[in-house]
Amino acid sequence: MTAATETHSEHDHSHDDHAQHGMSNAGYIRIAIILAAMTALEVSTYYVDFGALFMPVLLVLMVVKFFIVVSYFMHLKFDNKLFSFCFYAGLFLAVMVYVIALATFKFFAA
C-alpha cells in the first residue's frame, strides 16, 4: 500500500500545483525552534527587568512571530500575491481603524 502510494505521489506532483512548497519538514522544525526561543524570551520579561526595553521587545517579538507564522507556516510568502492582498488588506484596515479609534480615547497618550 505504501509503495503504491509513493509511486502515485511522484505521479501526482506533476498534476499538483501546490507541491512546489519550499519547505521541508526539517525546515518547519527549525522555524518552530526559533518561535519557541522567541517565546522563551517573551516569557523572560516576566522574570527579568528589561527596563525601558520591556515594551519594545515584547511588541517587536509579537510582530515578528506573527509574520513568521503567517509567512512560513501559512506559506503566504511563497504563494500567489493575491492571497497576501486578501489577508493583509484586512489586517491593515483592522490595525488602522482600531489604532485610530483607540487614539481618540487617548489610549496612547502618556
Binding site: 505521489s9 505521479h11 501526482d12 518547519y28 515584547l58 503567517v70 507556516f73 489586517l91 489610549f107
Partner: protein
C-alpha cells in the same frame, strides 16, 4: 483502482481551471481570514480600552498566572508545527502521517482549551466573573471568542481525521488539510497577539 481514486482527487474542482489559476476554496479561506482580523481587532481593542476599568473584583495583575499561560501558549504554538507536518504529509499523499499529525494537533489544541477552562475556573473562584467588571467582561469575551475558534478548529481536525479514514472526502484531500491548517495557524497567530497584549504587558 487507487489510480482512479487518486486521479479523481486531483480534479477536485471538476478539472476546471480558474481565471487566476488559484483554487476557489483557498481564495475563500484567505478572504475569510482577512475578515477575521477585523473581528478579533475589535475584541482586542475593546479589551485594551477596558482592561484597567475594574469597578469591583480583582485586577489583571491579581489573576493572571503567567507561568501557566506561558506553557499553554507554547503548546498552542507547537500545535502549529504539528499542523504544518500534517499538511506536508497530506501533500505527500501519506494518509497515516496526515491523520497522525492531525490528531496530535487536535490533542495539543484540546490541551490548550483545557488549560483555558482551568484558568477561567481559577479566575472565577478568585472573584473575576463575566459581569464583575469591564475588565472581566472584555477579558472573558476576547479569550472566550478565541477559545471557541480553537474548539471549532479541533472539531474540524477530528472530523477530517474521521473522513480521511473513511476515504469519503469530496474534493481534494490535501487541499482540505491545507485550508484547515490555514484556519488553525490563524487562530494560533491571534493567540500570539493576545498572549503579549493581554498577559505579558500589564495594564
Amino acid at each position: 483502482m487507487s489510480d482512479v481514486a487518486v486521479h479523481e482527487a486531483d480534479h477536485g474542482t471538476h478539472g476546471h481551471t480558474t481565471t487566476t489559476g488559484l483554487s476557489n476554496n483557498k481564495v475563500a479561506m484567505w478572504l475569510f481570514l482577512g475578515s477575521e482580523c477585523l473581528l478579533f481587532g475589535g475584541l482586542i481593542s475593546t479589551y485594551m480600552l477596558y482592561r484597567g476599568r475594574v469597578s469591583e473584583g480583582p485586577r489583571p495583575g491579581n489573576v493572571f498566572d503567567i507561568p501557566f499561560t506561558s506553557v499553554s501558549s507554547f503548546i498552542l504554538l507547537m500545535s502549529s508545527l504539528t499542523m504544518v507536518l500534517a499538511v506536508s504529509a497530506a501533500q505527500n499523499r501519506d494518509d497515516r502521517g496526515t491523520t497522525l499529525w492531525l490528531t496530535i494537533t487536535a490533542l495539543l489544541g484540546a490541551t490548550f482549551v483545557g488549560g483555558q477552562v482551568y484558568e477561567f475556573t481559577a479566575m472565577y473562584n478568585e472573584g473575576l466573573g463575566f459581569t464583575t467588571s469591564l475588565f472581566g467582561s472584555s477579558f472573558y469575551t476576547l479569550t472566550g471568542f478565541h477559545g471557541v475558534h480553537v474548539t471549532v478548529g479541533i472539531i474540524m481536525l477530528m472530523s477530517l481525521v474521521g473522513i480521511i479514514k473513511r476515504s469519503t472526502i469530496p474534493g481534494d484531500k490535501a487541499e482540505v488539510v491545507e485550508l484547515i491548517g490555514l484556519y488553525w495557524h490563524f487562530v494560533d497567530v491571534i493567540w500570539i497577539i493576545i498572549f503579549t497584549l493581554v498577559y505579558l504587558i500589564p495594564a
